[in-house]
């Protein structure tokens, strides 16, 4: 008894101190926190109300669903007289207000219970999300469940983004930093710093490693780095260009562009053995491979006179052009049978999305110099870079084009977002 009381007292003294230390630690990293500047949303989408959940999960879930462009958030204040989580449901009285209502309860250990109620038929689905060392992930997982139940598309909110931030970009003090954050820009952490360019980050399918290109020895080289242990591995520093790494879906191969045979060609490398296989043989530039499936790679080539996107079997063979609309299409990133890419329209460069075959193209951005699209693993959202107020800014847009968010870094230019696979 006495001992417990003593512990409590110590806790009372130490806790504020610990909080203070944590606050200092956080403030030293927050300079690089991405700031949500503008969020464009239309009212289109399936109406859903998220009832407040103590602990803050409801706000995160709301923001996630809003970003999807498929759901329209109805203010919870319009839902009156609803019993709390676990209570009875008489949802038909809300069906003129919203199609769905979410209510939930946070467990003492940080777990989360969620109930998704359909107002049209009074049906409800319940989900238990277990605790996580990153409490925000618990809410993202809940949003994933809700999104999948309603849209039949697997949710991708519980994912991460990698991106590069460049500070002092025209001075000798220029710094390139590779960051990893949650998919909504929260909890950014530096995984690599260099005075020379870091480009083309790409995730391993297990979400643990990032491949990237570094110029830190005044030549290009491809590395992989484990984001949890920091362990780094040199993959290729061959003569000439070593660029555009892309992991195969099973994690066994890296596709890349190398110029060892005279000009930039697409290769695959068996990561375990280091064995290389050359896929393209053209006199033109072939680069920016992305795996469209386990046995198919799409890439950029200017063999037709200007950059266009082509597809080639991952085992080699003949390449087929898949983009025909416009004079410049490049930088494709594929997921879930869709691809996001750069397309030139008049004087501007924009981000478009289409099927892997090139059909159903729609342009998702309207900046002048949009670039570096990366598609979420479910193919339903695209992160890209756009110029806002003279600064490169991270934008996230839904594949419907209906919801768009801009995330700026006060630290400098944001570049080359790479959307992680589904986390485990």
């Amino acid at each position: 008894m006495n001992f417990t009381t003593h512990l409590l007292t110590v806790n009372k003294i130490i806790k504020p101190f610990i909080l203070f230390v944590i606050a200092i630690m956080l403030s030293s990293t927050t300079y690089a926190e991405l700031e949500l500047t503008i969020s464009k949303n239309t009212d289109a989408g399936i109406p859903i109300a998220i009832m407040p959940i103590s602990g803050g999960a409801s706000g995160i879930i709301e923001a996630d669903l809003k970003r999807s462009g498929r759901l329209n958030i109805v203010s919870a204040s319009k839902i009156t007289g609803l019993s709390p989580f676990g209570g009875s449901i008489q949802s038909d009285k809300y069906k003129d207000i919203t199609d769905y209502i979410v209510r939930g309860k946070q467990g003492a250990d940080g777990s989360l219970e969620i109930e998704l109620i359909s107002t049209s038929d009074n049906a409800s689905s319940r989900y238990s999300i277990s605790k996580n060392t990153n409490p925000r992930r618990v809410a993202h997982k809940a949003a994933d469940e809700i999104y999948e139940k309603i849209t039949r598309i697997k949710g991708a909110f519980d994912t991460r983004l990698a991106y590069v931030v460049v500070t002092n970009k025209t001075s000798a003090n220029r710094k390139f930093r590779l960051y990893v954050s949650d998919s909504d820009g929260h909890a950014p952490q530096v995984v690599l710093t260099s005075r020379l360019p870091i480009i083309s980050p790409a995730w391993s399918p297990n979400g643990q490693e990032i491949a990237y290109v570094s110029f830190e020895n005044e030549s290009s080289a491809i590395y992989t780095q484990n984001i949890f242990t920091g362990q780094k591995r040199l993959i290729s520093s061959r003569e000439g260009l070593n660029g555009a790494p892309a992991w195969s879906p099973n994690g066994a191969y890296l596709a890349m562009s190398l110029s060892i045979n005279g000009n930039s060609e697409i290769y695959t490398m068996n990561i375990k053995t280091g064995q290389l296989k050359q896929l393209t043989h053209s006199k033109a530039i072939d680069t920016e491979p992305s795996w469209a499936s386990a046995n198919s790679i799409i890439f950029t080539s200017d063999r037709g006179g200007a950059p266009q996107i082509y597809r080639i079997p991952a085992s080699g063979g003949s390449a087929k052009r898949i983009t025909f609309d416009g004079r410049y299409n490049s930088g494709a990133d594929a997921a879930n049978n869709k691809m996001a890419f750069i397309t030139r329209r008049g004087r501007g460069f924009n981000v478009a999305i289409s099927s892997i075959g090139g059909s159903d193209k729609s342009v998702l951005s309207n900046g002048r110099l949009d670039e570096s699209p990366s598609i979420s693993p479910n193919g339903a959202m695209v992160a890209y870079i756009t110029m806002r107020d003279g600064q490169n800014t991270l934008a996230v847009v839904s594949d419907t084009g209906r919801a768009k968010q801009f995330l700026t870094s006060p630290a400098g230019d944001v570049r080359e977002p790479a959307w992680s696979p589904y986390l485990r």
């Binding site: 970009k169 110029f215 005044e218 950029t300 110099l369 570096s372």
Partner: protein, 221 residues
Amino acid sequence: MNKQKNTFLKLMIPAFAGVLLLSACSSQRQNIDSADGSTTGKGSDTTAGDSKTGTIGAGGASSAKNTGNNGGSNNGQSNYDYRSGAQGGSQGRVDDSDITPAGLNDPNNLLSQRIIYFDYNKSTIRPEYMVILNTHAKLLAKYPNLKARLEGHADERGSREYNVALSEERARSVKRLMGTKGARGAQMTILGYGEELPVVTGHNKKSWQKNRRVEIKYKNY
């Protein structure tokens, strides 16, 4: 060291600008975009390495730790003291006796022009740079121990890795041309930086033109 270099540059800029003005008046057909009279002053100031590796704590706890050497051999110091000299575009007088490594840093010598420019999405050498490149090729032919690095760059438009390949293609065009004029392949290395290291950051035609370039950098000069 650095201070000396800066002082040197400070003296060089007005001197070079003057030469450019004079030469721009005397030559008939100039490329307006490239004869802008600005010097970059970059190149050897950039030191390689100095990379830090961090990790992601399982639950979002931050720990940026320095793992020291990152597989590279020369952290902290550049392998070579490669320097980019003046920009190309104007024509200077040169006869064979002027083709010496010392000429690389003499603003009156054509060899001081070490940057050439490219058309949008092209890696072909513009005719107005043939004389400059021939002169550099002659220098390399005459001094077999001399080594040059050809660094290609692209403007910011379009996708980054395509631009890396495009800029390497530009450097390769320069290497190929100089190779036909007597420079040995082993004397030249090429590197494509893509759009990563712009000289100017404006988002307009004029800036883009200045960034679409190949810089000829000599080891120790």
